[in-house]
């Protein structure tokens, strides 16, 4: 393949990823957050981020962090950089686990990464928010609030269900994922 064609393909890939990042963010911001009950806890951005890490590796997932983190930081009224930092820590820990522990691209590795990623995301983000108000108010540390654990549990279940569905839809069209059951 000539260099020019290769560069064109990279640009097209970057454009495609940018459009996908925008769509994922819009769906997360408007569609999912409009629901109050279980479906409202779905963290679509996180699921896609971990998915990109599994399929395309660390470089492309860092690009996704820049896009998603930037959008989240300009829309939500938290100090700029909070979401960038949170997504970065999630992806870094997921990358280490993917290389060291979950060494194949099976459904189990995806589920495991989504499980760990969800917990890391909520703990890191809530910790950053708690530090923001540490001196201004006497709020109870979030880990001691029962509702935090209730909502985390609901988020884990909804994220897992979405991961299942997404995995099978993607596997139907693409063979880059391994089988569900690990063959010896």
């Amino acid at each position: 393949m000539t260099t020019k064609l290769r560069i064109n393909r990279i640009y097209l890939r970057i454009l495609f990823n940018f459009i996908l990042i925008t769509l994922v963010f819009l769906i997360h911001l408007s569609f999912i957050r409009a629901f109050d009950s279980w479906f409202g806890y779905l963290n679509l951005s996180l699921i896609f981020l971990i998915f990109v890490l599994e399929i395309n590796g660390l470089t492309w997932s860092l690009g996704w962090i820049l896009g998603l983190g930037f959008f989240f930081d300009i829309f939500y009224f938290l100090p700029f950089g909070y979401f960038l930092l949170t997504f970065f820590i999630v992806v870094l820990i997921s990358h280490i686990l993917l290389v060291r522990v979950f060494t194949n691209r099976s459904l189990y590795s995806y589920l495991g990464l989504v499980f760990v990623g969800t917990i890391v995301y909520e703990v890191v983000l809530n910790l950053l928010i708690y530090l923001l108000t540490f001196y201004s108010s006497s709020r109870i540390f979030f880990l001691f609030i029962k509702d935090f654990w209730n909502e985390l549990g609901q988020e884990l279940i909804v994220n897992w269900l979405a991961t299942f569905i997404f995995f099978y839809i993607f596997s139907f069209f693409n063979k880059r994922f391994n089988a569900v059951f690990i063959k010896k």
């Binding site: 911001l29 957050r33 660390l58 470089t59 820049l66 009224f77 950089g81 809530n126 609030i145 509702d147």
Partner: protein
């Protein structure tokens, strides 16, 4: 040993650092404003559509015609019509008297209509549903502390933070939303209304000797800057009184369903 590409990560962290610096020096503002203005309209449309589906689903699942309730509502409507007519004549008389006595003119308030685009993030997990993001900001004259009402003029919250094109609203049930209010009983009792755990509203510091009853309406008292008097917050559903306390508390139920807001108005002086 896990191989981490430190060069990539360093490069990425450098870009993040540059973005943060550019943001805090407001050099990224044109880009951010452009993105927000492009995204706000479709996001508001999708959000409103989802909320209307939810409303439709809830209505279908709770349809039960209760003829007794219907009769009560009809009676209540008639008595409200009569009361409204009396109030209109008092209003007219009040305006005439003010003119005669050359009172200073009341501050006129404008309404800035805004669409809800999402729910916000909150420090307390159970208060996340008590904040919303709207698609109007400082550019439209909105600033922190302004009152937010729904399409019928019932109070839903206060502006907590603003950006150039968006704002964050703390709804009545959020602990950050505190309003000076009056209970419309025989003595016009004043107090502070505050959200409680994202679920309800409480009015505290009410002297024990004041008589407050279930069903009393609570309205804004006008004692706060930029918040006019007379806007309805809700009605008293429970009075918590203890003989060994100096104050009594009233639990107030908002008149509007705060979970299904799609369009609000901000009162701008």
């Amino acid at each position: 040993m896990v191989k981490i590409n430190f060069r990539k990560i360093t490069f990425f962290l450098l870009i993040c650092f540059i973005l943060i610096i550019l943001h805090y020096f407001s050099w990224l503002s044109p880009v951010e404003d452009k993105i927000v203005s492009w995204v706000s309209f479709p996001v508001n449309k999708v959000y409103s559509k989802v909320v209307s589906w939810k409303r439709g689903y809830n209505n279908i699942s709770s349809i039960q015609v209760n003829l007794d309730d219907l009769e009560k509502i009809k009676e209540e409507k008639n008595s409200l019509l009569v009361e409204n007519a009396k109030l209109q004549s008092y209003k007219f008389e009040n305006e005439k008297l003010r003119k005669y006595l050359n009172f200073l003119e009341d501050v006129e308030y404008d309404y800035v209509m805004a669409g809800v685009i999402s729910k916000g993030y909150s420090i307390n997990p159970n208060e996340e549903i008590s904040t919303i993001l709207i698609n109007k900001g400082e550019k439209h004259g909105i600033k922190k502390g302004l009152l937010v009402v729904d399409s019928e003029g019932v109070v839903v919250g206060k502006i907590e933070e603003t950006n150039n094109l968006t704002s964050k609203v703390s709804l009545l049930t959020h602990s950050n939303c505190q309003l000076a209010a009056t209970v419309q009983n025989s003595e016009e009792t004043y107090g502070i209304v505050e959200g409680d755990l994202g679920l309800t509203i409480k009015m505290g510091f009410i002297p024990q000797d004041k008589e407050i009853a279930q069903g009393n309406l609570v309205v804004t008292s006008g004692l706060e800057e930029n918040i006019p008097r007379g806007y309805v917050l809700g009605e008293v559903v429970l009075v918590e009184r203890s003989s060994n306390q100096m104050w009594q508390d009233a639990v107030i139920e908002p008149l509007v369903d705060l979970k299904d807001l799609t369009l609000v108005s901000v009162l701008v002086p």
